[in-house]
């Protein structure tokens, strides 16, 4: 049978034309946005919520930074506290009483004044047991805040917040906390519009729709204009903001795509001004060919492996040390992660608020073999089969594979890798159903306590089973004193114990490879990777 086949070439041609008609050479979105001062950000995902008492995570944080302003805010360059709604503050000589003087011209986006009472009520809400705010512990330095949050006292007047008048807020602490102002730059210290919240539901209702654009009220430099799920959030300049005249951006567009590779392609095709983290595989390319588009800077996050000290042979300090000492960290950062990470030999990143750990573990495969032999495993003989747990991600896998091979080569032991989906991994980690497990810890504020307090016995995040009375004592001592030198001295001793005991194996301190267009001015890298939209502006580029 013969049938004339329609020309496939013709079909392809007409299909091509169809595509052509739909698209045409035009200006990129970034070029257009430059002219209208719209900052287009790849935000790495869809925010869970924009309520400071509910939201957790960087995605939410970066949007909320544009919408809210606390008493103080973190400076663009060094995250240091700057006057926000509070134009000044006094600290009592014993460091226990902070008195904040609020700007009389601070306004909500609906025109109402931002008063000390607003802050008082917002902190009340943050600490309400029924609110179940995950970051409520950021307010715990305040007298009785913890007791109220845990429901041990029910009268909020007993908590150390007091609105002395409309524009004066007093905060009483139970012990001097020199880093209180640094903590106060955190989202948990934002004021929220209580009246608006009550208008749309109960004060502690997690499903309260007050954060919808049509209901939303805030006090930051921008207001919420559009929120399209999994697509984008658009915030526009808030004319009611007290310093609106110095805000140069007209709007910020937060793209919600979560796939790094997709974001990078959007950046490359001129749809976005910046993306927070370039895909690991693309960092080399940008460094080599487009160095003006990439900005790599250290951030306060450490990558490490938890060791379950209740599982033999990891209950033997020598084994833990041997494992830690036989990893070539420089090889990992240079050839596996490749984004300028800093090899880590202790838990805290160097230069955390002026604190650099003096103790450091040695990398020494020969000594490691000796330690392993002393522990009863000469040349890795009879070493039990241990598994290394990580959550499924290409970068974790690559690091784990590299370290697996290093241990095989240096210690002659075989470690199996076990990857799990995120929640299964978290569950195993929390229930200590693991031998060794990938972990990471990012700072909530700039101070060594945010790292070192994690490994105290009572910490909910110490998943290693490791407990050391001396370490607990030193950490408690540090948090009880207002003298920075004495605090850091205690932390030095505590971290020396941690490095010697090795319940965790530090691997590296993160660097963040951000992609950013040359038209963006006034953006500065900082340790918390917390952008300050007040200073950013766009300069159209000549082509």
């Amino acid at each position: 049978m013969r049938v004339r086949a329609p020309s496939l070439a013709g079909l392809a041609l007409s299909l091509g034309l169809l595509v052509l008609c739909g698209c045409g050479r035009r200006q990129t979105l970034v070029e257009i946005a430059d002219r209208i001062q719209q900052y287009r950000v790849g935000n790495g995902g869809e925010p869970g919520d924009l309520d400071p008492a509910i939201a957790v995570g960087q995605i939410e944080h970066d949007v909320m930074l544009s919408l809210y302003e606390g008493l103080v805010y973190g400076g663009a360059k060094d995250n240091s506290p700057r006057p926000g709604v509070a134009q000044s503050w006094d600290i009592s000589p014993d460091g226990l009483i902070y008195t904040f003087h609020l700007r009389p011209n601070a306004r909500w986006s609906n025109g109402g004044p931002v008063t000390a009472r607003d802050f008082y009520q917002s902190y009340h809400r943050m600490l309400l047991p029924s609110m179940a705010a995950q970051y409520s512990y950021m307010l715990y330095p305040v007298t009785n805040a913890e007791a109220f949050n845990l429901g041990k006292i029910t009268n909020f007047d007993q908590v150390g917040f007091k609105a002395l008048d409309d524009h004066t807020l007093q905060v009483k602490l139970h012990s001097p906390t020199p880093y209180l102002l640094a903590m106060m730059t955190h989202d948990s210290w934002y004021p929220v519009p209580i009246a608006t919240i009550l208008k749309y539901g109960a004060i502690d209702d997690r499903s309260n729709p007050w954060t919808r654009p049509e209901n939303f009220v805030c006090n930051g430099p921008f207001v919420l204009k559009e929120w399209s799920m999994n697509s984008h959030i658009l915030v526009v300049k808030n004319p009611m903001y007290w310093d609106a005249e110095h805000i140069r951006l007209n709007s910020i567009y937060f793209d919600a795509e979560e796939n790094y590779d997709t974001e990078e392609r959007m950046f490359r095709s001129g749809q976005l001004h910046t993306i927070r983290t370039a895909p690991q595989t693309k960092v080399d390319f940008y460094r080599q060919y487009k160095p003006d588009l990439i900005n790599i800077y250290p951030i306060l996050t450490t990558y490490f492996y938890y060791l379950n000290v209740t599982h033999p042979p990891l209950n033997d300090k020598r084994v833990r040390q041997a494992l830690a000492m036989s990893i070539d960290r420089a090889a990992i950062t240079k050839t596996v992660t490749r984004a300028g990470e800093i090899p880590a030999f202790c838990l805290t990143p160097p230069g955390t608020a002026g604190y650099t750990c003096k103790a450091a573990l040695r990398e020494d495969p020969v000594a490691a073999r000796k330690l392993l032999a002393e522990a009863g495993y000469p040349d890795g003989k009879n070493f039990p089969s241990l598994s290394l747990l990580y959550n499924t991600l290409q970068s974790h896998k690559a690091i784990a594979e590299a370290i697996q091979e290093m241990w095989r080569k240096n210690l002659n032991i075989h470690v199996t890798l076990r990857n799990e989906e995120w929640k299964v991994y978290l569950d195993a980690m929390n229930h200590a159903h693991y031998d060794m497990c990938r972990g990471g810890w990012g700072a909530d504020y700039v101070d060594p306590s945010t790292f070192l307090d994690v490994f105290t016995t009572d910490s909910g995040n110490n998943n290693t089973g490791w407990s050391n009375a001396e370490y607990d004592h030193l950490c408690a001592e540090a948090s009880g004193t207002g003298d920075t030198a004495a605090r850091y001295a205690s932390y030095q001793k505590a971290e020396a114990i941690l490095v010697d005991e090795m319940p965790i194996i530090p691997i590296y301190v993160y660097s963040n490879p951000r992609l950013i267009q040359p038209s963006v001015h006034g953006w500065h890298p900082n340790l918390l990777d917390s952008p300050d939209y007040r200073s950013i502006y766009l300069v159209p580029q000549n082509h």
Binding site: M1, A5, L150, S207, Q271
Partner: protein, 305 residues
């Protein structure tokens, strides 16, 4: 036929019930709850969050409560996006993935049937091998490779369209091609196979012997029988197409429903999983019903029973 359809609707009720029950208990058995995070909140806070959503109650009571809500058509709140309900999320995302699904379906049917028919008519000739090779390439190149390849060519090099996003009509072209190509490959292979079966049956030979034109033979006689496997395949596939694809949606930055099928399970967003499963089930059942009706229509010897 009305009785047939009505009976199918009745059958749907136990199916959805079993499915909801199975999904409920599977979700609760899976390790890790919705509020488990890398930075653990204190035990008290976690307990209160669970209490807020009634997750602290005995499992069976939770089950009864959820079933009661489901009966009312209330799919519940999303744990990951607390200010949104599951009904709302589905209502927002489904139109997006449905649009993409229909466009991809068009691509799949046009390309797939064309290739399949040509290949069957020209069995073992050049066009057969050519179109089947294309189809097999469509199968071998997974969507997570095809998508970036197309973006690379058309968005990054030729600069004809955006690399990702879902705003303009031109944003639809590449995702529809990516998703459609995969299904087109299936349609091509299945229709070729089905047609070949029919073409060698006697009644077609008779028709040819009587001098019926090839085009007429294909359209009037062969397609009817030859399309049976395609129709059986398309039933559930259309349901899948309409509810979106995780890969295509993340590669092209599309705010569709498909990504929730994966992320809701990963987030242990219990109500969202339940909602997406039931929604998908209704579509699958509906599309399988449609497929069964088409099967009867294509083959008059069959009856609705």
């Amino acid at each position: 036929m009305i009785r047939f359809v009505a009976r199918r609707f009745l059958e749907t009720i136990p199916v959805l019930f079993i499915l909801a029950t199975a999904t409920f208990f599977m979700m609760r058995l899976a390790p890790g709850g919705p509020f488990l995070a890398e930075k653990q909140a204190s035990r008290e806070i976690q307990a209160r969050m669970n209490a807020h959503y009634g997750l602290d109650q005995p499992l069976f009571r939770q089950y009864l409560r959820q079933m009661k809500n489901l009966l009312r058509g209330d799919l519940g709140p999303s744990f990951k996006y607390p200010s949104r309900t599951v009904n709302e999320i589905i209502a927002q995302s489904f139109p997006v993935s449905a649009e993409l699904g229909l466009e991809s379906l068009a691509v799949a049917l046009v390309l797939g049937l064309l290739a399949g028919i040509i290949a069957a008519l020209k069995q073992n000739a050049f066009w057969d091998h050519f179109s089947m090779s294309l189809a097999m390439i469509g199968l071998c190149v997974p969507t997570f490779v095809m998508g970036p390849l197309l973006i690379s060519a058309f968005a990054l090099h030729l600069e004809w369209c955006n690399a990702a996003g879902w705003f303009f009509p031109r944003d639809r072209v590449l995702p529809a091609l990516t998703l459609g190509a995969y299904y087109a490959a299936y349609v091509a292979r299945l229709s070729r196979g089905g047609l070949l079966e029919v073409l060698r049956q006697d009644f077609i030979r008779t028709a040819q012997a009587k001098g019926a034109g090839a085009a007429r033979v294909v359209c009037r006689h062969a397609l009817r029988g030859g399309l049976l496997p395609v129709v059986s395949f398309l039933g559930p596939s259309i349901a899948g197409l309409l509810t979106g694809s995780f890969v295509v949606e993340t590669v092209f930055g599309i705010p569709g429903l498909g990504r929730f099928f994966v992320t809701a399970a990963f987030n242990r967003d219990y109500c969202m999983v339940m909602g997406s499963v039931l929604f998908y089930a209704v579509l699958v059942i509906g599309m399988n019903l449609a497929a069964d009706i088409v099967l009867v229509w294509l083959n008059p010897k069959l009856r609705f029973d």
